[in-house]
């Protein structure tokens, strides 16, 4: 049965301060799916996850079961790492999931570790999450006490350990290979792929990196089966989706919803419309890395594949009439990303927002690859001068050319994360940038 707006799976305990206590979690049925899973064969759990159409909730939307399948069959010393480095601008769900329902994450992790044969496992949590870290540590200590963790989980003979590992302030560590470098006690510099982490990950061993929200879904797939989970979703995307609705909304919030809802329904029906009685102008659909959508593109569902392929969304261009090439002639529309949906009203100064987005990626570029390190710096300078009404003739084309020169030419996706929104803003709102350059005084006052 498809999810409806009242279907709550992993956010049920939001607002309930008690649910983080292990007794309360158990009384609500917690850790029963771990017991059930320990009676299953690991291969059968992996098959269920694959058939469930669960896709990674960290940003890329990659099928979780397929990712697990990349671990070599004869691998020893497999690691599972939970990516809790939530830092994509506009995204605020993993922090809430950890705070309200830490045992749900642990149960999902322990089941996943059992399926993968992973003994030592880590939660890499963002350093700034100082309220959530002790919550997780307490939950882990309680889980050890009740033998959900330890050398012999619930008498099954399966050994499973989880350690919380704090970062120290670096957006790039949300990129999975940078995260692994950081976990190894180094600067968070992304690695060249291949080899992929599933083959050579942390400490040189096969490693699966999964997002918090992704892992939280695992107990329910074990409980209700893959078909149930797949049916909640649509097409190749199983389950519900948590969307983080922020910006110029009457009721911003973190909502678990069916993926069939359109952007316009999210804004108007879920969030009570645009604040101050205004109209919507622009929506960033999946964290600030994703190309923005204009007001006439919002009747597309918030689902992974729809946002990438629906022809109602104009493809991103490098110049008017020249589509951006993702490789092999593939066009870029936008992506569901991390679920961070930022909504802007019709009073929004788009070049100023673009400059703020670029400034972020410039600040967070790790400095390893020249196109990103230098390119984001140039983009920051130019986008700020355009936003201030001090742009020079040719600046719009120059921004597009720099962005196009970054994308595809870096080790990790931070290059694309910086380039795509710039190209997207220029594609959808080019006239606003040009107006600032042609009429600098008006632009400066806007």
């Amino acid at each position: 049965m498809p999810a409806d707006v009242d279907t709550k799976i992993i956010t049920r305990q939001f607002g309930n301060e008690e649910a983080k206590n292990i007794e309360v979690y158990e009384s609500l049925g917690g850790y029963r799916q771990l017991r059930r899973a320990l009676g299953m064969k690991p291969e059968d759990i992996k098959a269920e996850v694959k058939a469930s159409n669960l896709r990674g909730r960290g940003g890329a939307g990659f099928p979780t079961g397929v990712k697990w399948g990349f671990v070599p069959a004869d691998a020893e010393d497999v690691y599972l790492v939970c990516n809790a480095d939530e830092s994509e601008p506009g995204t605020c769900k993993d922090r809430e999931l950890m705070y309200w329902d830490p045992h749900q994450l642990l149960e999902g992790m322990i089941i996943s570790a059992y399926a993968l044969g992973a003994r030592n496992n880590y939660i890499y949590i963002r350093g700034e999450m100082m309220r959530e870290t002790p919550v997780l540590e307490k939950a882990i200590a309680d889980a050890y006490e009740r033998r959900y963790l330890g050398e012999d989980v619930l008498g099954s003979g399966f050994a499973c350990h989880i350690t919380v590992h704090r970062g120290a302030g670096a957006y790039i560590c949300g990129e999975e290979t940078a995260l692994l470098e950081s976990l190894e006690g180094k600067r968070g510099w992304p690695r060249l792929k291949p080899p992929f982490p599933a083959v050579v990950g942390v400490f040189g061993k096969p490693t699966v990196v999964n997002n918090v929200e992704t892992l939280c879904n695992i107990p329910y797939i074990v409980e209700h089966g893959s078909q149930w989970f797949a049916d909640l979703g649509v097409g190749r995307s199983g389950g519900t989706r948590i969307v983080c609705m922020s910006g110029h909304l009457e009721r911003p919030g973190v909502y678990e919803l069916p993926m069939t809802l359109t952007m316009r329904q999210l804004i108007d029906d879920v969030c009570g419309g645009i604040w101050k009685g205004r109209e919507v102008k622009c929506v960033i659909p999946g964290g600030s890395s994703m190309p923005p959508m204009s007001a006439d593109e919002l009747d597309v569902p918030c689902e992974f594949d729809a946002l990438m392929t629906d022809e109602r969304i104009k493809p991103v261009e490098v110049a008017p009439g020249v589509p951006f090439d993702m490789g092999g002639g593939k066009e870029l529309r936008t992506m569901a990303g991390s679920g961070g949906i930022m909504v802007m009203d019709d009073h929004t100064d788009i070049p100023a927002v673009c400059a703020r987005v670029v400034e972020f990626y410039h600040h967070e570029s790790c400095g390893q690859c020249t196109p990103c390190r230098e390119g984001t710096g140039w983009l920051a300078k130019i986008s700020h001068r355009v936003a201030k009404g001090e742009g020079r003739p040719g600046d719009v084309d120059l921004m597009a050319s720099i962005a196009d020169g970054i994308a595809g030419n870096t080790i990790c996706a931070l290059g694309e994360a910086a380039a795509w929104p710039v190209l997207g803003f220029l594609t959808k709102f080019r006239a606003e940038f040009e107006a600032k350059i042609k009429a600098p005084k008006e632009g400066a006052a806007a």
Binding site: E86, S87, E88, P89, G90, T91, C92, D94, R95, N120, R126, G127, E128, M129, M130, R131, T133, P134, H161, T163, H165, R166, G167, A168, G169, A170, Y171, S182, L183, E184, G185, K186, R187, G188, F203, C244, M245, S246, G247, H248, P252, G253, V254, I284, S288, G340, M342, M344, T348, V353, R356, V357, F360, H363, E364, C366
Partner: protein, 165 residues
């Protein structure tokens, strides 16, 4: 005189070493501990971490300078991380930052005994923008006129980041 970790910190580091196959992953937790104990990461503090984990000083120094939470200079007790990224910016974060700066008499990046003001990137509280985090305390849906109250709240009940290790 060279610095030493407290007995409590030493025990914590020893316990953490058990959780990894090599010592190097303990470097970031050990730096958090050092910053909590000594207030900032001086050359001596970095040397202490390097010595404790038997790592080259240069490696530890490289880690310190990569991550924004590690600081080489002393800072005020309460580190106010004021988000100005897009979700917060759209709802007035720059006005909030300006009012915090005015109320504290400090610019972003500056410190006195009580406060250190940081203009922070997205702190994952976007649905309650503008947001500020200070240690374990979030200030959500902040209005510029709340700046004085926020600073008073923190003077009464400081939220040093060293509470969380």
């Amino acid at each position: 005189m060279s610095l030493e970790f407290s007995e409590q910190a030493k025990a914590k580091i020893e316990a953490l070493r058990e959780r990894y196959p090599i010592a190097q992953p303990v470097v970031i937790p050990a730096l958090h501990l050092a910053q909590a104990e000594f207030g900032h990461l001086s050359d001596e503090a970095i040397q202490l971490v390097a010595r404790t984990l038997e790592l080259p000083y240069a490696h530890v120094f490289g880690v310190v300078t990569f991550y924004t939470m590690f600081r080489r200079e002393p800072a005020g007790t309460n580190v106010l991380r004021v988000c100005t990224n897009v979700s917060c910016m759209l709802r007035g974060a720059y006005d909030v930052l300006a009012s915090i700066e005015k109320a504290s008499g400090l610019k972003a990046g500056e410190s006195d005994d009580d406060f250190h003001i940081v203009e922070e990137e997205c702190i994952a509280a976007c649905a309650n923008a503008p947001a500020i985090v200070c240690g374990t305390k979030y200030f959500l849906d902040v209005e510029p006129d709340q700046a004085e109250d926020i600073l008073d709240d923190l003077r009464k009940r400081p939220r040093p980041e060293s509470e969380v290790l």
